[in-house]
Symmetry: C2
Subunit: 390 residues, 2 copies
């Protein structure tokens, strides 16, 4: 039996956080929860605190912290804000930090976890999209591991394990194509947030569901893969695979391709990240390939999904450009969810802001956070003023 691993979870009330806790519940002999950081879902957090008895918890706001503090045992440290999340990330006894905040707020606490020598189970892809170079330098310097929790990166990780990195010819990320893969393009312009959130295969949070509909999610994953596996963008390809069964593939120099497959359930990659280098029962329904019958693969239509092209452009440009792309996407998705712009406006806004961004290369964390702020402000103004591109 393996040693008990102590976990801190950043984003415990989100979709990944909840699945992580389900796995912990299934394997009480393997894991102990030491820290939980959440956003504003205090009700669910309280239930989690009662069940898993962490030593430190944190919420987004001071007000929520005060409410929470009154309700939970006095020996639990109760914090808030970025500093609170950072504290949850660096708890002494934590071995693995599950980084599952949505978007930019995860960067600082995740970096702190790495600097504190923690292995990171990374679901929060924006950490690498915003600051891949800096994060991977810290990973190396501190001798820690990033264990991917995205299904695609977990698939790549599993397809590389036991094989030599220098033998890799190509990494192929699969994309379901989202709910509008076959919809006429002028109809896509009119889709509602509700339609966009109805992902055909995966049950996920709002932001990632919209990003899956525009394929920006795949773009972010391309950038994530570039850093996580230290692989040049020209070696990364994206295939549309509507069944979401092959989670990704790695092609080697001998023409051999390794692929990882599974039911579309995030508990798969989470379980692998937590139990690595072992495996553990994840409670997932085993794959029934004969029942599914067929797996399809096609080249993505870049005209239909301009976000994918923008992501490849951003990673080739490098420096702060991926930070900017990510920041504008967050603002634009929010605006779409508020019905202020259409789904097809999202890449238009991103492109417009990227066009006027003055890249900083070899950027410091400060440069990155500056670029992030600038991009958000610029995108926000552009949307508010109904800039001519819209």
């Amino acid at each position: 039996m393996a040693l008990v691993k102590n976990l801190s979870i950043l984003g415990s009330t989100g979709s990944i956080g909840q699945s992580t806790l389900e796995l912990v519940k299934r394997h009480p002999d393997r894991f102990k929860i030491v820290g939980l950081a959440a956003g504003r879902n205090i009700k669910l957090l309280m239930e989690q605190i009662e069940e898993f008895k962490p030593r430190v918890v944190s919420v987004l706001n001071e007000d929520d912290r005060r409410v929470l503090k009154r309700e939970i045992p006095g020996d639990i440290e109760c914090l808030h804000g970025v500093e609170g999340a950072r504290n949850v990330a660096v708890i002494d006894e934590a071995n693995i930090v599950v980084s599952a905040f949505v978007g930019a707020p995860g960067l600082t606490p995740t970096l702190s976890a790495i600097k504190a020598g923690k292995d990171v189970a990374l679901a929060n892809k924006e950490v690498l999209v915003m600051a891949g170079r800096i994060v991977m330098e810290e990973v190396k310097k501190n001798g820690v591991r990033i264990l991917p929790v995205d299904s695609e990166h977990s698939a790549i990780f599993q397809s590389i394990e036991g094989h030599r990195r220098e033998d890799i010819r190509k990494v192929i990320l699969t994309a379901s194509g989202g709910p509008f893969l076959y919809m006429p393009r002028d109809k896509v312009r009119e889709v509602t947030p509700e339609e966009a959130m109805a992902h055909p295969n995966w049950k996920m949070g709002k932001k990632i569901s919209i990003d899956s509909a525009t394929l920006m999610n795949k773009g972010l994953e391309v950038i994530e893969a570039r850093w996580l596996f230290d692989i040049q963008p020209y070696r990364i390809a994206v295939y549309i695979h509507p069944q979401s069964i092959v989670h990704s593939m790695v092609e080697y120099i001998d023409g051999s391709m390794m692929a990882q497959m599974g039911t579309a359930d995030m508990k798969g990659p989470i379980a692998y990240a937590l139990s690595y280098p072992e495996r553990m029962d994840s409670g997932i329904i085993p794959l029934d390939l004969c029942g599914i019958g067929r797996l399809e693969f096609m080249e993505p239509d870049i005209d239909r999904f301009p976000c994918l092209r923008l992501a490849f452009d951003a990673i080739k440009e490098g420096g702060t450009m991926t930070t900017v792309m990510n920041a504008v996407d967050e603002v634009a998705v929010e605006a779409f969810l508020r019905r202020e712009i259409s789904l097809t406006d999202i890449p238009v806004v991103i492109d417009a802001v990227m066009q006027i961004h003055d890249i900083r290369k070899d950027s410091s964390l400060e440069d990155i956070l500056d670029a992030d702020r600038w991009a958000r402000d610029t995108a926000f103004e552009m949307i508010k003023s109904r800039h001519r591109v819209l």
Copy 2:
């Protein structure tokens, strides 16, 4: 750069032997040929001797040996028969023996190679079908490796590499289903050897092509996998996969499935076996999954392919039963190629001989060779006398 590996090839003029030599030609800095053993194709063997300059060669018959001896340089040792092949297999300077004879004749020289401490690149699956327990005991005792050259077993090997054996839940071998997958069953009774040899995806020798049409090839592979990966038969499944792109798969306890894919070209598994643990360029056309478009999977129809059931029965019975099954299959395939019986008679003969075989468990090599002879004689007589089952 890796050290130069010295190879002896058993079956150098066959399909696997020729592909192996193509790879050696492509990587002269990695490999040197020290021994070649062939059957009766003296003409091709002479060309190979001239090109690769082995130190020892062997042919099947004394007469052929005499002819060959006159034609090749005097410093090349020139042998014949089982003893000659055994000598090629144990050459001092050989690091890897490519075991690629067809059928039972490969067993003795392959066992000798293992006992002489050579790693074996195994294409000759009958070695494990006939004497899996004994062979794997010798592998263990001598600290050597068996590197699978079958595409399915190479796929499983690659899908296990880097993952823990104790985490395996299931091994799934894929089968193309052969040329008669969709043919009405009463028509299959009338197919000619020429039709049966026209495999849809793989270019192979005669025996294996017929075995692919009856799915006995898959049955032999199930038995091979049982020994090679020390996995119980109930954990082995077979899926029909007409495209022959996914070469096999391994399912783990967390529901994750690893698969190896590639163009249907035996140079893939040969290259992996020879370059392992590295990889090398194999000259294979890279897989174009989007061009292929779709991969299909179905449960095999055991009524249509009774050979598959016979193989599972044989491995469950154990002892000398798999030896008998294999021996009868060789005799029956020969009879089919001579147009003495129909394709659908093959499993009938095998079943009939298996029914009357008196199994020996914990069998010695002598028991196995006895059972092999008995099974061949019995099958031969049965076919000659048009036994009532036919």
